[in-house]
């Protein structure tokens, strides 16, 4: 059966918030439901951070120069911690959400209901972000900042830098959401959502600069990165936090992030229209 998307009447912002807020709260409650395993999962995700930390320490010990590509050892440690926090914050599970809905067939019900499926997904993802901001984002940031203050007497960056970082993170989240949405639409073509997610994670983990700052790549490849959205997802906010960019560069970078949101929004809408036209759901 072909499925038309139900057009949604224009609502006031207040009304929309009231309608969609439960999806955000629901997502937060979902994460709290299995507290014990949730903390264990967070703990095991921190292994990659630990490996990175000790690896970079060994790399700097083996190096004859103080700084590699403009990063001192201290810069690098802040870089990988902030990279971990940022990528955790903006990591959304839209691919999985759409995938599960498609595999289980619940996508049909979601399209028939008088709510906008995309907006619903957005508000659910917002729940992810808010929750990850509190856990593990804030505690890791606090521990890192305190350790650095005690050991090195180094204060966290100025409030202006932190605010610009947070603004940039919000933009990253927008980019990430739309990117993940486009990616998730692939699950209309394959049911192997788990494998899809793995491939996506591998690509993102590397190209967004989680493992290594993008400035370590050869010049030519960095030029290519300028035309891809990946740097805007993680690398830019982290570099803003590290105060490695002059003010005008910060503003330009945020402008680029906004442009990516617009581009990805258009792409997402185009593919969404195409996909919902050909959707077939089994059963009644």
């Amino acid at each position: 059966m072909g499925c038309e998307v139900v057009s949604v009447k224009k609502r006031s912002l207040r009304q929309s918030l009231r309608i969609y807020k439960p999806f955000t709260i629901g997502r937060i409650q979902e994460q709290l439901a299995y507290k014990w395993s949730f903390y264990l999962f967070i703990f095991s995700s921190m292994f990659s951070l630990l490996v990175g930390y000790y690896l970079w320490r060994a790399i700097y010990q083996s190096s004859s120069s103080e700084a590699l590509n403009g990063f001192t050892q201290n810069d690098m440690i802040v870089y990988i911690f902030m990279s971990f926090i940022t990528s955790n914050l903006v990591r959304v599970s839209v691919t999985r959400d759409i995938g599960n809905d498609v595999v289980e067939g619940t996508i049909a019900m979601n399209l028939v209901k008088p709510i906008n499926y995309q907006v619903r997904l957005f508000f659910s993802s917002l729940g992810n972000v808010l929750f990850r901001f509190l856990m593990p984002g804030l505690p890791i940031w606090l521990v890192m900042s305190i350790v650095r203050y005690v050991n090195l007497g180094e204060l966290p960056p100025s409030p202006i830098v932190i605010v610009s970082y947070l603004v940039s993170v919000c933009l990253s989240f927008g980019i990430m959401f739309l990117f993940d949405f486009c990616f998730g639409l692939l699950s209309f073509y394959t049911t192997y959502v788990w494998g899809l997610n793995l491939a996506k994670q591998a690509i993102l983990g590397f190209l967004t600069g989680q493992l290594i700052p993008l400035s370590f790549f050869p010049e030519a490849i960095q030029r290519i990165f300028d035309f891809l959205p990946f740097a805007s997802m993680n690398y830019i906010p982290v570099m803003i936090y590290l105060n490695k960019m002059p003010l005008e560069r910060v503003i330009i970078s945020m402008g680029i992030q906004v442009i990516w949101i617009i581009i990805l929004y258009l792409i997402a809408n185009y593919f969404w229209k195409r996909v919902t036209k050909r959707i077939t759901v089994l059963g009644g």
């Binding site: 014990w36 395993s37 949730f38 264990l40 999962f41 703990f43 095991s44 995700s45 292994f47 990659s48 630990l50 490996v51 000790y54 690896l55 320490r57 060994a58 790399i59 010990q61 083996s62 190096s63 590699l68 590509n69 073509y189 394959t190 049911t191 192997y192 788990w194 494998g195 899809l196 997610n197 793995l198 491939a199 994670q201 591998a202 690509i203 983990g205 590397f206 493992l211 290594i212 370590f216 790549f217």
Partner: protein, 263 residues
């Protein structure tokens, strides 16, 4: 015993059929694992543009350690991936019943239920890097080394299987052990790099508690240096035997406390 071989062949044939049916899924999963391991190598090559050696190890040596680590991991992943289901759902949903109803060893049934084609991605990376290391003379091929290589890969895969089986079997008591299993499994990430970069605590865990260091780093360092065969590959085989006996005993004990779900 012959019946088991026969059954295994039947299961494997079924798997091949399912593979042909879901080619796209196979390629996606393979690509996922291939990329995530390959990016690790690209990372190393970028780093080594800045430094001549890491903690006394050259780039070529690290590539060998990294690649060598993928092979036992991939073999275990390919053959026994279904153990994760024991941790995740078989106990909590009572689905383990069916393994107890048939007159065949439950562990054998558990691993036969699924072959994980995604693991081919890890195996490709692993073999490619080992071949690369042979070609650039980082390691030398002698009949003895080939034999030791096969023994070591087998023992390493057994260590992986045992660690998975041990933590998955805890589900018999706590119903859902996926988070603990994940935690234990991910410690393998540490073993992709030389142990000497880590502080004592982490080295202790990887050597004595969750012995992933014996899967990759210790045997790989034998092939690189040619020293201490007893303390590296000998120890690996011994550890593999010990952890397998422990894990299988816990699994057997778990079977006796298994109670099905439902009313």
């Amino acid at each position: 015993m012959r019946r088991y071989f026969h059954l295994y062949r039947v299961f494997a044939t079924q798997f091949m059929k399912s593979l042909v049916q879901s080619k796209v899924d196979f390629i996606i999963g393979l690509l996922g694992f291939f990329l995530s391991q390959m990016f690790g190598i690209v990372f190393l090559s970028l780093v080594f543009k800045q430094i001549p050696s890491l903690n006394g190890w050259t780039f070529e040596q690290l590539v060998f350690i990294y690649g060598f680590a993928q092979i036992p991991r991939g073999i275990d992943h390919f053959l026994t991936d279904n153990i994760w289901m024991l941790a995740m759902r078989y106990v909590i949903r009572g689905e383990f019943d069916r393994f107890l109803l048939r007159p065949i060893n439950p562990f054998f049934q558990l691993i036969c239920d699924k072959f994980q084609a995604d693991a081919v991605g890890e195996l490709i990376v692993g073999f490619a890097l080992v071949v690369f290391s042979v070609v650039n003379h980082t390691v030398t091929v002698t009949p003895v080394n080939v034999l030791l290589f096969m023994i070591s890969v087998f023992a390493g895969a057994l260590i992986y299987t045992s660690i998975k089986l041990f933590f998955a079997s805890l589900a018999f008591w706590i119903k859902d052990s996926i988070a603990i299993l994940q935690l234990a499994y991910e410690t393998a990430d540490f073993a992709k790099y030389p142990l000497s970069i880590y502080p004592k605590g982490i080295r202790f865990i990887l050597t004595y508690l969750i012995p992933f260091a014996f899967v990759a780093f210790f045997p790989a360092s034998y092939f690189l240096t040619g020293e201490n065969v007893i303390m590296t590959i000998g120890a690996e085989v011994l550890i593999a035997g010990i952890v397998w006996i422990i894990a299988y005993a816990v699994f057997r004990k778990g079977l006796t406390v298994y109670e099905s779900a439902g009313n």
